[in-house]
């Protein structure tokens, strides 16, 4: 876009993005847990605990249900791989990452969806009651949250005349007034609700419960163990980090490097880390204050998100 990026720099930035998401995802989860614990008057585990857990799990034996097929084993890989692709091509640090041309908003949303569907398939593949229950609930929620996300994204691409994320981010930076338009704000709220639903956080799902019958996301991954479980957990935390980073990109893009230079990149790294951490802390604070919704209320919440997203599109088309 702006200026000429040397090929080496582009590659380095993409590698940096991937590394940042792989390490930053678990740290984000650890940070959110720490904030929750502190607010509840508990000490809580250290922020890097999820990384230690991953190391522990990676060394443990994988166990698989007898009746499971190859799908069950492929799911953790698919989950992590799809998220890695997003981390690679999304403009998390610079407006011109490698393969930035492919970072279409719709492509990114569907990459996330591939991960969700893979998890549900893996859950069904186990043949257990809990897996089927979790998959059915997750798909119910997914069927409502994905359209809301797509429509919210559409509202963003209208003023930029492009659905390419790097382009949207670059044009947002040159037209800061866009960020305060009604369609932006409506789409922001819809996007936030979808993030909460997609990442299985309160008030949609309770990630810390041990009660199988109430679980949505956790019920799908009950049968995973060892390295498989490590991959699933890594994938989950990376998805959360990527969702928050995309949110930061689209709604508060300042700090993303628009031109080559080591200084730009350093600023971009600090900015994205700070933005994602701040969003994570805000989510955690919100989680302490709310309880989990009754399952049948979740569609109402997501329908609300969808309506907001539609309004955002209408407003984007009507208000120039």
């Amino acid at each position: 876009m702006t200026g000429a990026w040397p090929v080496g720099a582009v590659a380095a930035i993409s590698v940096l993005q991937v590394l940042g998401v792989v390490v930053g995802g678990p740290l984000l989860v650890g940070l959110m847990r720490k904030v929750r614990c502190r607010l509840e008057g508990r000490v809580g585990p250290p922020v890097h605990q999820p990384l230690l857990d991953l190391r522990k799990l990676a060394r443990r034996e994988r166990t698989r249900p007898d009746q499971a097929s190859w799908i069950f084993s492929a799911v953790p890989v698919v989950l992590v791989a799809t998220t890695l692709v997003i981390a690679l091509v999304a403009p998390l640090l610079a407006t011109d990452p490698a393969f930035g041309w492919s970072a279409d908003l719709f492509a990114l949303v569907y990459l996330l969806l591939v991960g969700s569907v893979a998890l549900a398939l893996g859950a069904l593949d186990t043949g257990t009651a809990f897996g089927g229950m979790g998959a059915s609930r997750a798909m119910t929620i997914g069927a409502l949250s994905e359209p809301a996300l797509l429509v919210a994204v559409l509202a963003l691409s209208v003023p930029a005349h492009s659905s390419n994320v790097p382009t949207i981010v670059a044009r947002s930076l040159t037209h800061p007034a866009w960020l305060a338009t009604p369609q932006r704000l409506l789409s922001l709220v819809a996007f936030l609700i979808v993030i909460v639903a997609e990442s299985g956080r309160l008030p949609v799902d309770n990630p810390s419960t041990h009660l199988e019958l109430t679980m949505i996301h956790e019920a799908m991954v009950l049968e995973y163990a060892g390295a498989d479980l490590a991959l699933v957990k890594l994938g989950e935390s990376m998805r959360l980090a990527v969702l928050l980073a995309l949110f930061a990109d689209l709604f508060v893009p300042w700090g993303v490097a628009t031109g080559p230079g080591i200084g730009h990149v350093v600023v971009a790294v600090v900015a994205i880390a700070a933005k994602v951490a701040a969003l994570g802390v805000a989510l955690a604070v919100f989680e302490v204050a709310v309880a989990k919704l009754r399952l049948f209320r979740v569609p109402e919440l997501l329908a609300g998100a969808f309506v907001l997203a539609v309004l955002a599109v209408v407003s984007a088309l009507v208000v120039p």
Binding site: R36, L39, E40, G41, R42, A129, F130, G132, M133, R137, L202, P203, N206, S208, T209, H210, L211, E212, L213, T214, V288, A289, V290, A291, K292, L293, R294, L295, F296, R297
Partner: protein
Amino acid sequence: MTPSVGHARSGRSAPASIVAPDDLVDAAQALFADGMRLALVSGHDDGGSLRATYLFTSGPPDTRVELHVPLDHNRPHVPTLAALSFPASRFERELADLFGIEPLGHPQLRRLVLHQHWPAGWHPMRQGSGDPPEMVTGAGSFPFVPVDGPGVYEIPVGPVHAGLIEPGHFRFWVVGETILRMKARLWFVHKGIERLFEGKDVAAGLEIAERISGDTAVGHALAYCQAVEAACAMPVSDHAHVLRAVLLELERLYNHVADIGALCNDVGFGIAHAWALSLRERLLQLNREVTGHRLLRNGVVPGGARVDRLPRPAELAEVSHRFEELVELASSNALVMERFAGTAVLDEAHARALGVVGVVARAAGVAFDARRSHPFIDLGPLLSPARRASGDVLGRYLVRIDEVRSSLAILADLVPRAGDLHAVGSSETTATDGPGSAGVGICEGWRGVVVHRVEVDGRRRLRRVKVVDPSFLNWPALSVALADTIVPDFPLANKSFNLSYAGNDL
């Protein structure tokens, strides 16, 4: 069969009549018509002869009537009371399993206590039943009622659960997320506790009674001691009664506080859970200073009570303050209240028909409280009726809150009355060489009414102890309350009942 008017004393022998099996139904019908409830049914094997004992209670005034039914040793049977009382039908199934006493005409005579893998014809409570036999392999499976239809599927849960939960198997039949039917299969931790009492000295039996259900140490110890005192004619001073009442309320406090937090936790409101756990810990530390044990063991002893010190008014005020903060935090959260309201409703008609007791009954509008019906100490107006009519999770939550407040008020009143005497009473009364006697103890544990019936021989050895934990009466109501509840609300409904597996399975 004239009921005697109750005094401020709950451990005593009940007036008994000997009834032939053929007359049992008429006799029971007359007692039910007088508004009495069937509190306990106990089988007895006296070596050469078998008998069954039915304890009926009502109050106030504290009224207890026993029917003693001698049985034919060769073909022991009783006519079923299932048509008159649902709890009776369950007691009868227990009799059939443990004693081989057949309830004639029982509508659902399946195994209750003994799982299918125990050989038929082995009844562990019969004299000479010996060591447990080899388990039968390939025994029939549990006769779950099949539920069929388009879209119906089954969810089996347990007996091993995530988290620190006792073992129990729950089988759900579900359409979408709505529960059509739930069957709880229990007795995975049947330990033969009633048998363990047999032959022990009455003082030694206390240790077992305190361990029947770990969270109800005082409730079971108190009912046991009252029964033993009645059987052995041990005097108990008024002062000991005051100390016992203090211990009983301390037990109610820490359990209700924990339950209120756990209810919030089950709807994902973790902060209230953290606060409740912290308050519970404070109460457990107080318990330890009062009796030397965090779960209040060794406080109630046969013939008296023993405490190291009493809770101070300032400590009670601090607990009260922190409790009100907790309630404010939870009750002011609209999402939490929304989850509680209307979830797992047990209406009053069902509660009465099933004979449920304790918190569950009072949340459904049934006012039964053994502290009022079978008082051992006069609490007067302090015992405000904790009663809600809604029968849902919210009702059970609010009853617990009301009861914590009333317990704190009772403690604030009792502690000055207890004075500075700490240990009173002892079990050192002379043994009589009589033929032995029986006694009944009834008290309102934190879950509900706990009933023990004890028979001792002339040397004060326990011949038979029958225990009824409130959980035994309340478990069937959980399935009923789940009608129209959705699967993800089951853990919340289950927690709002919070029944004991150990107390039920015995």
